[in-house]
C-alpha cells in the first residue's frame, strides 16, 4: 500500500514495494526460524485493518461493491479520498479541468488517485514526468491509452502541442468521452523544466480539446512555485496532509509477519518511531527501516533470552542498534545489503564506513592537504603567529578580540594563492622538502580528487588560487595519521 511511483530515482536502498518489504521480512525471519513456514502476504483490508476503517466512501454513479473495496485500501486517507471523489463527481459528469494535489512524499497522493482510477475503472492514463524525457512520449502515452495504438501512430515525428491537440480533437470527435477521462501526472514539478507552454496548456486542456477530460497533477512542491510569469488557468488545489504518528503506527503495524503477535510487532514499531520520528516522517523510508531491523529485534526472543512481552529489555537491545542505523543506512552510507551483512558478521566496525578513512594519500599529500586546510580557514595575518618562532609582540588577548564573532568554520573556506599554500606546507612538514615537480603534481592530483578546488580561472598560470574542500572531521582523521595536532593551529579553536 501507499507506495507510489514517486521515488524510484533515489538511492537503491530507498523504496521497496510492499511485497518486497514482506519478502525481506520473511527472508530475514526464515533464517532464524526452524522449520521455515510458508510466507503469507495478508491482503490489504483483511484482519485487523477492518477495525479502524472509519467511514466507507459513498457516491452515486459508482458501484457500491467497488467503492467498498476502494475504501478498504485507503486507510487513514478517508477525508482526502472523500473530497477527491466528490470533486470528481459521477463518471459522466464534468470534473474541474485541472486538479493540483500536493503533500509530502509518501502521503498517499498517487496511491489514492491510482486506486480510484484502477478500481473504479475510470478511463485514465498515469504518467510519471520522470519517464517523459520528451513531450512526444507523453503525447503518445495519452493518445494510446485513450484512443488505442492507431491514434498514437498518427503523431508525427517530434510532435508539437498543436499536433497533439489536433489529433486528440479528431479522435475524441469520433469517440467522445462517455466518462470523464483523467490524465494523472506524477512528480509534476518536472513539468516546469519542460517546454514553457506545456504546463499552461495541460491546465486548460479541457477547453483546448473540447472533451470531458481532467488533468490531475501530483507534486510535493506547492503551487506557488509553478505559476508562470503571465499566469495561467488556476487548478483546484488539494492538500494531502502528512500522516500523524498514530496513523503511521497503524499503517506500519499492518506489515506484521504472521508468525509474531500483533502486540509484539506494534511495540517494535513504537520503538522504531521513537527513534526515527523526530527525524523522518517519510512512510516509505520508515517502512524500509522497519523491515531491515526487525530481525535484530526478534533475536533475543528467538534465542529464548527474553519473553515477547518484556518491552523494556527488548528496547534496551534494539535502541543502540537503531541509532547506529540512523547514522549509516538512513544516510545511505551503506546499502541495505551491506547493512544486512554487517548484522551477520556483527563486526561493529561502523566507524570505518564513512568516506573519511577510505582515502589513502601519500605522505606529502597529507601535509599539503593539511596546509591547504590551514590556509583556507586561518586568516593570512595569523600565519605569522602560528608559524614564526619569534613573532614579535602580538599579545594573545588583543589578537583574539579582533573579528571574534564570525568563525571561519561557519563561513566556509577562503581561497588562497599557491605561494601561501607552499609556505604553510614547508612550516608544517617536519623534514626538508625540495619544491620539486612531484610536489606540484600532488597538488593537481588533490584537485582531481576534489579535495582541493581550483578557484581562479585556468588561464592564470603563475598564481593559481585554491580552496580546501574537506571537512574538519576528515582533516582531523588525516592529521592523526601523521601525528599532527591540527586543532592547535586553527585560529577558530584558540
Amino acid at each position: 500500500m501507499h507506495q507510489s511511483a514517486e521515488n524510484e530515482t533515489c538511492a537503491p536502498a530507498k523504496s521497496y514495494p510492499r511485497k518486497v518489504v514482506f519478502s525481506i521480512c520473511a527472508h530475514i525471519q526464515q533464517r532464524e526460524m526452524s522449520p521455515p513456514e510458508p510466507v503469507f502476504v495478508t491482503p490489504a483490508g483483511g484482519g485487523s485493518e477492518q477495525s479502524w476503517m472509519a467511514g466507507l466512501l459513498e457516491h452515486p454513479g459508482y458501484d457500491e461493491e467497488r467503492l467498498r473495496r476502494v475504501s478498504e485500501q485507503l486507510s487513514c486517507r478517508e477525508v482526502q479520498a472523500g473530497l477527491l471523489l466528490s470533486l470528481m463527481g459521477q463518471p459522466q459528469q464534468y470534473c474541474y479541468p485541472s486538479l493540483f494535489i500536493y503533500g509530502h512524499r509518501a502521503s498517499g497522493k498517487s496511491h489514492v488517485v491510482n486506486v480510484f482510477m484502477k478500481d473504479l475503472e475510470l478511463p485514465h492514463v498515469t504518467v510519471s514526468c520522470v519517464e517523459c524525457v520528451s513531450v512526444a512520449l507523453l503525447f503518445e502515452k495519452v493518445l494510446r491509452s485513450f484512443f488505442g495504438c492507431d491514434a498514437a501512430s498518427l503523431l508525427p515525428r517530434s510532435p508539437s502541442l498543436s499536433d497533439f491537440v489536433r489529433i486528440y480533437r479528431q479522435q475524441s470527435s469520433q469517440s467522445p468521452a462517455k466518462q470523464t477521462r483523467y490524465i494523472v501526472m506524477e512528480k509534476a514539478e518536472l513539468l516546469r523544466d519542460a517546454d514553457v507552454n506545456l504546463l499552461p496548456a495541460l491546465l486548460r486542456l479541457q477547453e483546448l480539446v473540447k472533451d470531458n477530460v481532467s488533468v490531475i497533477l501530483l507534486s510535493e512542491i506547492v503551487w506557488d512555485k509553478f505559476r508562470p510569469n503571465t499566469g495561467c488557468f488556476e487548478p483546484l488545489l488539494l492538500h494531502f496532509p502528512d500522516y500523524s504518528k498514530g496513523e503511521l503506527q497503524q499503517i506500519l503495524s499492518t506489515d506484521r509477519h504472521p508468525s509474531y503477535s500483533a502486540e509484539f510487532y506494534s511495540s517494535y514499531i513504537n520503538i522504531l518511531l521513537g527513534v526515527f520520528y523526530p527525524v523522518c516522517r517519510d512512510l516509505r523510508e520508515l517502512r524500509h527501516l522497519a523491515a531491515l531491523n526487525f530481525s535484530k529485534f526478534c533475536e533475543p526472543v528467538a534465542a529464548g533470552k527474553v519473553k515477547e512481552m518484556d518491552t523494556h529489555k527488548l528496547w534496551k537491545n534494539i535502541e543502540p542498534h537503531l541509532k547506529k542505523a540512523m547514522q549509516t543506512v538512513y544516510l545511505r552510507e551503506v546499502s541495505s545489503l551491506q547493512w544486512e551483512q554487517m548484522e551477520e558478521h556483527e563486526s561493529g566496525a561502523l566507524r570505518g564506513l564513512s568516506a573519511h578513512t577510505h582515502v589513502e594519500l601519500p605522505y606529502y599529500s597529507k601535509f599539503l592537504l593539511i596546509a591547504a586546510y590551514l590556509a583556507s580557514y586561518n586568516p593570512a595575518r595569523t600565519d605569522k603567529r602560528f608559524f614564526l618562532k619569534h613573532h614579535g609582540k602580538i599579545r594573545k588577548t588583543n589578537f583574539l578580540k579582533k573579528n571574534e564573532k564570525t568563525s571561519n568554520h561557519l563561513l566556509g573556506p577562503k581561497p588562497f594563492p599557491l605561494d601561501r599554500l607552499l609556505a604553510v606546507f614547508y612550516s608544517v612538514v617536519d623534514s626538508r622538502v625540495a619544491p620539486t615537480a612531484s610536489i606540484f603534481s600532488q597538488i593537481s592530483s588533490l584537485v582531481t580528487l576534489q579535495l582541493l578546488t581550483l578557484v581562479s580561472h585556468d588561464d592564470q598560470l603563475d598564481t593559481p588560487k585554491y580552496k580546501c574542500a574537506v571537512s574538519l572531521d576528515f582533516i582531523s582523521a588525516i592529521s592523526r595519521t601523521v601525528n599532527f595536532d591540527i586543532v592547535k593551529y586553527l585560529y577558530d579553536f584558540l
Binding site: H59, P60, G61, S86, L87, G89, Q90, Q92, Q93, Y94, C95, Y96, Y102, H104, S160, L161, S162, V165, R166, P176, K178, N197, P200, A201, R204, Q206, E207, L208, K210, N212, I221, V222, W223, D224, K225, T230, E234, L236, L237, H239, P241, D242, K245, Y277, P278, V279, C280, R281, M326, Q327, Y330, L331, E333, H409, L410, L411, G412, V455, K467, S471
Partner: protein
C-alpha cells in the same frame, strides 16, 4: 450544414417522445422517465446541442406548467450536479454576457461588418485572467452564427499561442482549418506572405472579385509576439489593412502592455482598436452573480425542487457569515474563475443526504481556497526540520535577510541545544544535512546564487523562502510541538 441538420434532429427527438407519451396523462412516473432518459444522453452531445435542448424544454415546460412533475430526490441532485458542473467546470456560455453588454455589442457590430460587408478589421480584447475574454468572444460568435448570412459567409480560424508556438505550425493549422490541404498539396512557397496570400486567394469565389471573409482568433495573443520576426502578425495585419481579402483579426490577451511587444512595422498596421475588460463590479453585483451562478434554470424538470433550491440559494446569499466570506473573496479577486472554484467546492458537498448548500459548506470551501500551501507543508515536517527552519528564521532576523549556510544554521541550533542541555535532539551533522537537503528539495529554501557547483554543500549559501507569519502560524498548528521549541521560535534567547 451537416451540423445544423444534426442539431435539429436531436432537438426534435424529445419533442416526439413527449408527445408520444402525452396520452398517458396520469402517469407521472413515465413522464419523468422520458426526461431522465433524455438527460442521461446529454453529456454525449456537445454543449451546443445541450443548450438547445434546454431551451426547448424550457418552452415545453412553461407551456404546460409542469410543476406537477416530481423526480426522486436522487435524480434531482444528479441533475443539479450535471447543470452546475457544466457551468463551473466546462465554462458553459451564459445566455447573455452579463456586465459586458457594451463590449458585446461593439464586437458583434465589428465582426458583422467583416462578415457581411467584407470590411477588414483588427481588434484586441485585453483583460485579466478569468475576466471573460473567451466567454465574450464565444458568445459573440454564437450570436453571429444565428444569422444565416453571416453563417454562410464567415470562415473562422482559431489559433492559440500555447499551441501554435511558431509560424510554421501556425500556417499548417490555418491551412487545415480553412480546409485547403488539398489545394496546397505539395506546392513550395518562397515566403510566408506568399503562402498566406495563396491561402486567402484560394478562398475567393468563382468570379475572383469577392472573397469570403475570414475571422482569425488569436488566443494568448502576446505569445504570438514572441515568434521570429512576428511574421504571422505582420502578414495578418498587413492583409487586414491593405484590403487584399476581408479579414478580421481578434486577439485575446491578458497583458496590458501587449502593444509594446509588437515591432514597429507590425504596430503601425494594427488598427489600435482595443476592448478592455476591466471589471467594475460592485459587491452587490458580485452577490447577484453568485446567486445567478448557483441558481437552477427554469427548464429544470422538477419545478418544485427548483423553487426550493433557488430559495435556498437566495437565503444562503443573505446569510451574514456567507456575505462576509464573499466580501473577502471579492476583495481579493472578482473574476469568474476563482468564483467558480469556490462554488465548485461547495457543490461537491451537495448530496442526496444534504440537498442544499449550507453556509458551513461555503465557509469550508473558502478555507480550502485561501489556505496557505506553505504553512500546510510546514505541518508535515519532522521536528528536526522544523528546528532548522526556526534557526534560519533567527539568522534572518539577526543578519537582516543575508543568506546563510548549513554550518550557521547548525551552529544556531546547537546554541539552543546548549541552553536546554537536553540530548533529545542531538543529531549528527550528516543527519542534519539530510534534513537540510529535504528542505531544499521542497523548495522551502533556495540557493542564493546558482554558480555554487564548486562549494561544499555545507557552505552553500541559502535563502529562506518563508516569512515570519507563515512559520509562526505553522508552529501554532504543529501537532505536539514541544513548548521549549515554541518559546525558542518566539525569541532567539529562550
Amino acid at each position: 450544414m451537416g451540423v445544423l441538420t444534426c442539431a435539429a434532429a436531436i432537438t426534435y427527438k424529445p419533442l416526439q417522445r413527449v408527445f408520444f407519451r402525452q396520452p398517458i396523462r396520469g402517469d407521472l412516473q413515465s413522464k419523468a422517465e422520458v426526461v431522465i432518459s433524455d438527460s442521461a444522453e446529454l453529456p454525449r452531445k456537445s454543449r451546443h446541442f445541450h443548450h438547445n435542448t434546454f431551451r426547448f424544454f424550457h418552452t415545453i415546460m412553461s407551456k404546460r406548467k409542469a410543476k406537477d412533475a416530481h423526480l426522486p430526490i436522487g435524480e434531482c441532485i444528479n441533475q443539479v450536479h450535471q447543470i452546475l458542473r457544466k457551468r463551473f467546470c466546462h465554462q458553459q456560455l451564459p445566455d447573455k454576457p452579463e456586465g459586458l453588454e457594451a463590449q458585446h455589442k461593439h464586437l458583434v457590430e465589428l465582426l458583422k461588418r467583416t462578415a457581411v460587408h467584407g470590411e477588414s478589421n483588427s481588434v484586441l480584447i485585453v483583460g485579466p485572467r478569468g475576466a471573460g475574454k473567451t466567454m465574450l468572444l464565444r458568445s459573440v460568435l454564437r450570436d453571429l452564427s444565428e444569422e444565416t448570412e453571416v453563417q454562410k459567409n464567415l470562415l473562422q480560424v482559431h489559433l492559440n499561442g500555447l499551441l501554435q508556438t511558431d509560424d510554421r505550425i501556425a500556417l499548417k493549422e490555418i491551412t487545415r482549418q480553412l480546409h485547403l490541404e488539398n489545394v496546397v498539396g505539395d506546392r513550395v512557397f518562397g515566403s510566408f506572405a506568399e503562402n498566406l496570400g495563396f491561402l486567402l486567394d484560394a478562398l475567393k469565389k468563382g468570379d475572383r472579385s469577392s472573397s469570403r471573409p475570414v475571422l482569425f482568433v488569436l488566443d494568448e495573443f502576446d505569445l504570438f509576439a514572441h515568434h521570429k520576426n512576428q511574421t504571422l502578425l505582420y502578414n495578418l495585419f498587413d492583409v487586414s489593412q491593405s484590403a487584399q481579402a476581408p479579414l478580421a483579426v481578434v486577439g485575446l490577451t491578458c497583458r496590458l502592455d501587449v502593444l509594446e511587444l509588437l515591432e514597429k512595422r507590425v504596430k503601425s498596421r494594427f488598427s489600435h482598436r482595443q476592448i478592455h475588460l476591466l471589471s467594475t463590479l460592485t459587491f452587490s453585483h458580485y452577490l447577484d452573480r453568485v446567486r445567478a451562478q448557483l441558481s437552477l434554470p427554469d427548464g429544470f424538470p422538477d419545478g418544485k425542487f427548483v423553487e426550493e433550491w433557488n430559495a435556498a440559494v437566495t437565503t444562503l446569499c443573505e446569510d451574514k457569515s456567507v456575505v462576509e466570506v464573499l466580501q473577502r473573496h471579492y476583495n481579493s479577486s472578482k473574476d469568474f474563475r476563482s468564483l467558480h472554484m469556490l462554488l465548485m467546492l461547495c457543490l461537491s458537498r451537495v448530496s442526496v443526504a444534504k440537498p442544499a448548500i449550507t453556509p458551513a459548506d461555503l465557509l469550508d470551501a473558502s478555507r480550502l481556497c485561501v489556505a496557505d500551501a506553505k504553512a500546510n507543508m510546514l505541518h508535515g515536517l519532522s521536528i528536526l526540520e522544523l528546528c532548522l527552519i526556526i534557526a534560519m528564521k533567527h539568522l534572518n532576523d539577526v543578519y537582516e535577510g543575508e543568506p546563510f549556510n548549513l554550518q550557521m544554521v547548525h551552529n544556531e541550533f546547537k546554541k539552543f541545544l546548549q541552553r536546554k542541555s537536553s540530548s533529545l535532539y542531538n543529531f549528527e551533522q550528516p543527519v542534519i544535512m539530510k534534513a537540510f537537503e529535504h528542505l531544499q528539495q521542497l523548495e522551502l529554501i533556495r540557493p542564493a546564487d546558482s554558480s555554487s557547483a564548486k562549494t561544499q554543500r555545507e557552505y552553500q549559501l541559502m535563502r529562506l523562502m518563508l516569512d515570519h507569519g507563515q512559520i509562526m502560524e505553522a508552529l501554532q498548528k504543529y501537532p505536539q510541538c514541544p513548548t521549549d521549541i515554541k518559546q525558542w521560535a518566539m525569541s532567539a534567547f529562550a
